[in-house]
């Protein structure tokens, strides 16, 4: 467990752990930055972050990408050892998530207040903006924490929200933001618009790695990301209040303050999105920026979004699996683990003990009715407790042996899904499927399973011995 005070500290840890690659050769904003970040995630799941410091046309721009884009970097973001296995990262994430809430530490000033622009704001001059994918409608802030409060419950910190939303820069101080109905900020915007008001926002860019993970976590509406970050790091989370009363991370590199304009919608997009397809264009809400603050020599942090897997999939991996697990496990303590790594949990694999026939299907329906499940969880695969949901070899074995489609496939018609799922018909609506890949138990007596294979006596001891011998071969 470690509380990084800012992105800079985390980058220095990544560098020390040989998980940061500095690119000092001259590169172009387009297409080099996105191409390099895209290429990194094709290389494997242990790759470093990448920092560009010599960008054509710039004097001192620093752009970092792929900060979260590997399992070692994800482990280090959590303050774990970089070789922590996936399953271990899941259970440690769960353990800390259950410590909610931690505390806020409010301080009076922050390094991001060093340089302030309030007149003639031009974001194109203030930030190193660039295109990610060829069909994108422009340059996006896609890894920023957008902070807002509920106008109907303004002073309630627990319903303050710090979320990662895609934001298009559309003019010198004009942005477009995607607030899909399942997002907390959409609820807050709806309250502001019903009142005929703008919604104040603060957009924090270049943050320590934990709040970015929390901003991508579909926690409950009355859970505050900062208090979860505090629980996750075992230390109060340091924030600074803006003049409008929004809490912003102490360690941010840039902070943009402005308003979502009430009752206005305007062309936004397309943008290459997490399902691996462009989103198309929509009329989305508009933000006007009134004030920009940043550190000296700021570091701009961006995530490449492409056909999975990309850095975004690491951001949406444990952050999706863990809240789903915690919420389902509250109702069904028999649930052992949840793997929602795939496309933000459009596919979810749950391992559970089963108490009686039909139990696994009920667990599957429980996943569908979690807050995140309402917009995702299109396919839920339920496996027994002896199957590791993070080991796809085991999951496919369970699917191939423990499924009889005659009784193990449940289709639920016409349920809600994220608008960005291209399979939706109409967009936002989809049938959902539960695959019961658990062994039938009484009174659901089906199949002829007999005795399951175990391992020969001494296999575990041999495994340990052989791992050591194989390691010695490599030396």
């Amino acid at each position: 467990m470690h509380a990084y005070q800012d992105l800079r500290e985390f980058l220095s840890v990544l560098e020390h752990e040989r998980q940061l690659l500095r690119v000092t050769e001259k590169v172009s904003f387009e297409p080099d930055l996105a191409a390099a970040a895209c290429a990194l995630t094709k290389i494997g799941e242990t790759v470093p972050a990448i920092l560009f410091t010599n960008i054509a046309g710039c004097t001192d721009a620093q752009v970092v990408m792929n900060v979260h884009g590997s399992w070692p970097n994800h482990a280090l973001a959590l303050g774990m050892k970089k070789d922590a296995p996936l399953r271990e990262q899941f259970f440690e994430f769960v353990r800390r998530y259950r410590q909610y809430p931690g505390e806020l530490e409010r301080v009076a000033s922050a390094p991001w207040q060093e340089l302030v622009t309030e007149k003639d704001i031009n974001l194109y001059e203030l930030m190193p903006l660039f295109r990610l994918n060829r069909g994108d409608g422009g340059y996006y802030l896609d890894k920023a924490c957008t902070v807002s409060r509920d106008p109907d419950d303004w002073d309630n910190d627990n319903v303050e929200n710090a979320g990662i939303y895609r934001i298009q820069v559309k003019g010198p101080n004009r942005l477009g933001i995607q607030t899909v109905p399942q997002h907390d900020i959409a609820l807050q915007l709806a309250h502001a618009e019903a009142r005929g008001e703008d919604l104040p926002v603060a957009i924090a860019i270049g943050n320590e790695p934990l709040i970015t993970l929390m901003g991508a976590t579909p926690m409950l509406y009355n859970q505050l990301e900062y208090k979860m970050a505090a629980a996750m790091q075992g230390k109060p989370y340091k924030v600074v209040k803006t003049a409008k009363g929004l809490d912003v991370p102490w360690g941010s590199e840039y902070v943009l303050e402005g308003r979502i304009l009430g009752r206005q919608r305007e062309m936004e997009g397309p943008f290459g999105e997490f399902p691996g397809y462009y989103s198309g264009g929509h009329r989305y809400p508009v933000i006007e920026i009134d004030r920009v603050s940043h550190r000296k020599n700021p570091v701009y942090d961006s995530v490449y979004v492409g056909r999975p897997w990309s850095e975004l999939d690491y951001l949406q991996a444990m952050t999706t699996s863990v809240p789903l697990f915690v919420q389902v496990n509250t109702t069904f303590p028999e649930v052992i683990a949840v793997n929602a790594l795939y496309t933000h949990g459009l596919v979810v694999i749950v391992s559970t003990k089963t108490r009686y026939g039909g139990f696994a299907k009920a667990v599957g329906m429980g996943v569908l009715t979690t807050p995140h499940g309402l917009g995702y969880a299109k396919i839920v695969i339920v496996v027994d407790a002896d199957v590791d949901p993070f080991n796809l070899d085991q999951v496919m074995w369970a699917m191939s042996i423990r499924v009889n489609p005659a009784s193990d496939i449940v289709i639920l018609p016409n349920l809600s899904v994220n608008l960005l799922d291209p399979a939706g018909q109409p967009p936002g609506m989809v049938h959902k499927m539960i695959v019961d890949a658990t062994t039938p138990i009484a009174p659901d007596i089906r199949g002829d399973y007999g005795e399951i294979l175990d391992t020969p006596e001494g296999t575990d001891a041999w495994q340990q011995k052989l791992v050591a011998l194989i390691d010695s071969l490599k030396k």
Partner: protein, 84 residues
């Protein structure tokens, strides 16, 4: 490079509107300019590949007609005003 660096962007590569402006120039003079379309909000840098800067090379699948803008889906919906 298909565009002047002196702030004459020409038509928008995406919607061909001529309501285009220079948004910023590179801190090192003369390397690039960022242009923007005030009709469809498409943004491009003078040094990008022609598929992003030249209306004739811009991919057909991403092209827009300004008349389409008012027909795009609205999300999220705008709620009714509360009664005072």
């Amino acid at each position: 490079m298909s565009e002047s660096l002196q702030g004459a962007p020409g038509a928008c590569p995406r919607c061909r509107s001529t309501a285009t402006i220079a948004q910023s120039k590179s801190p090192v003079a003369g390397v690039w300019t960022i242009f923007g379309c005030t009709t469809c909000f498409y943004t491009w840098r003078s040094t990008e590949l022609e598929e992003n800067t030249n209306p004739d090379k811009y991919p057909r699948v991403f092209r827009l007609n300004p008349a389409q803008l008012a027909t795009l889906p609205v999300a999220p919906i705008i709620p009714p005003l509360r009664r005072p």
